[in-house]
């Protein structure tokens, strides 16, 4: 069994590295888009909010696998040159858009959960809508975003396993290759794969928990 572990671990670590890269880029881009979309959704302009609502509901209401096929197989079929994607960018684009919808809803809900009196007080001192958002609403909304955001990030990290269907050698794919070489050691190989996911996801959840206690509670006077 030790032989199996030592011979497959390097491949699995390569897979973990790919999972790590895809998930980090996705989480970064998805959060960036999501924060902007979520903030815009709280505005009072139907011209902005309706198209964004359509975007969010369309992506959340359909399976990610379809988005991936759409970006990887169907967009290139249009023949338009800038819509030809390799597997890696296709995975990143599809996953980032998918992530952004969940982040956007978290951001919108958190912003709307800040009592309207905070905005009224800020505006009545003469702050602009933007100053009010930046100095008063967002700092309070961020505290409410942290726990659900940690959850979404972990789901995205584990969700990257789906991109193996377009041939990206991430952790699950690497595990499958290893099982083909050692068909009798399925338990060991899948066990290692699961452990590696856990080793990545658990710290993310711990960091979210730490951030929650750091930013989420009232600091006592020193």
């Amino acid at each position: 069994m030790f032989d199996v572990i030592s011979s497959t671990l390097p491949f699995l670590l390569d897979g973990l590295w790919m999972t790590f890269k895809i998930s980090l880029i996705t989480i970064f881009l998805g959060s960036l888009i999501g924060v902007v979309v979520g903030m815009l959704r709280t505005l009072d302009y139907a011209v902005i909010t309706y198209p964004l609502a359509a975007y969010i509901h369309a992506l959340r209401g359909t399976p990610f696998l379809i988005h991936l096929y759409l970006v990887y197989f169907m967009l290139p079929a249009t023949g338009i040159s800038w819509l030809q994607f390799e597997a890696f960018p296709a995975a990143v684009i599809a996953l980032s858009l998918y992530t952004s919808t969940y982040v956007a809803e978290i951001v919108r809900a958190a912003i709307e959960a800040v009592p309207s009196g905070q905005t009224e007080a800020a505006r009545s001192t003469g702050m602009t809508a933007l100053q009010c958002m930046w100095h008063v609403v967002l700092p309070q909304a961020v505290k409410m975003m942290i726990p659900p955001m940690g959850g979404v990030y972990v789901i995205i990290i584990k969700g990257t396993s789906i991109v193996s269907v377009i041939g990206i050698a991430e952790l699950v794919r690497a595990g499958e290759h290893a099982t083909q070489r050692h068909p009798k050691e399925l338990m060991v190989i899948y066990g290692m794969t699961a452990l590696l996911y856990f080793a990545y996801c658990y710290p993310v959840l711990r960091i979210a928990r730490w951030a929650e206690t750091k930013f989420g509670s009232v600091r006592l006077p020193s």
Binding site: P115, G117, Q118, E120, A121, A122, R123, S124, T125, G126, M127, T128, Q131, H135, V136, P139, Q140, K143, V218, R219, L220, P221, S222
Partner: protein, 251 residues
């Protein structure tokens, strides 16, 4: 009270709230009023009389359907771009304090100064500490709102408004959410501000305060001004039946 041009001139303002599925609510019907520099105007009336809507219209928190509001020569309803600038000159104290929960008492005072008035941090700190002393809680500068009593929070809120050097201060039922034992202290503070010459518009249910601190009392009901005059005439010799019945219920 002086005879200069009034700081606040309100002319024929109307406001109707349209809630789908319910009859429209006429919160303000052709309300006109004015506040001179240094004057204390107290607005009284039953719940739903439109007095809070009137007050909130004065700094644009509530938009109006028609009429005009002029504050220190600037038309509030004219250009939207001026609204932020105009609000700097109109302090607002809320029933529920609305202190910034993520800031300490001192930061609640300094943040709007540095953000809106572009004062330096040290200048804002100095003004902030002086005003916290002024409202009687100089030792609470490091406390967060959740660590303060209602009365202390309202003192911070008053100081936060004062820090912006407002031309007029609006008080929207500032003592209605307070514990009985802290009401008196906040009212005393408001009386001090009044005697120091602060221009104030006060919506309140505290008739004792109205009688003592007001230069003029306006009684509103059903979105209209029913009666106004000096505290003595309104309280001791009300001319209208609605005023009489309101006062008999409340006093």
């Amino acid at each position: 009270m002086t005879n200069e041009t009034p700081i606040v001139v309100v002319k024929d303002i109307c406001k109707t709230f349209n809630i789908p599925g319910r009859p429209p609510v006429h919160a303000l019907r052709n309300v006109s009023n004015h506040v001179a520099k240094g004057e204390v105007l107290v607005v009284i009336g039953p719940s739903g009389s439109g007095k809070s809507t009137f007050l909130r219209a004065l700094n644009g928190l509530e938009t109006i359907d028609s009429g005009s509001i002029v504050i220190d020569g600037v038309e509030l309803t004219a250009a939207k771009a001026n609204l932020n600038l105009l609000r700097q000159g109109v302090g607002m104290v809320f029933q529920h304090f609305n202190l910034f929960q993520h800031k300490t008492a001192l930061e609640n005072l300094t943040m709007p100064q540095t953000v809106v008035l572009k004062r330096s941090q040290s200048e804002a700190d100095e003004i902030g500490r002086r005003l916290l002393d002024r409202v009687g809680i100089g030792d609470k500068d490091d406390s967060y709102p959740s660590e303060l009593s209602g009365g202390q929070q309202q003192r911070v809120a008053i100081a936060r408004s004062l820090a912006m050097n407002p031309k007029v201060m609006l008080f929207d039922e500032a003592t209605s959410a307070l514990d009985p034992e802290t009401v008196g202290g906040v009212l005393d503070l408001m009386k001090e501000l009044a005697t120091e010459g602060t221009t104030m518009v006060v919506v309140t249910h505290e008739m004792g305060f109205a009688r003592e601190a007001a230069d003029r009392v306006t009684f509103m009901d059903g979105g209209e001004i029913i009666e106004e005059g000096t505290p003595d005439t309104v309280f001791d010799d009300p001319r209208h039946e609605r005023t009489r019945s309101f006062l008999s219920q409340i006093i």
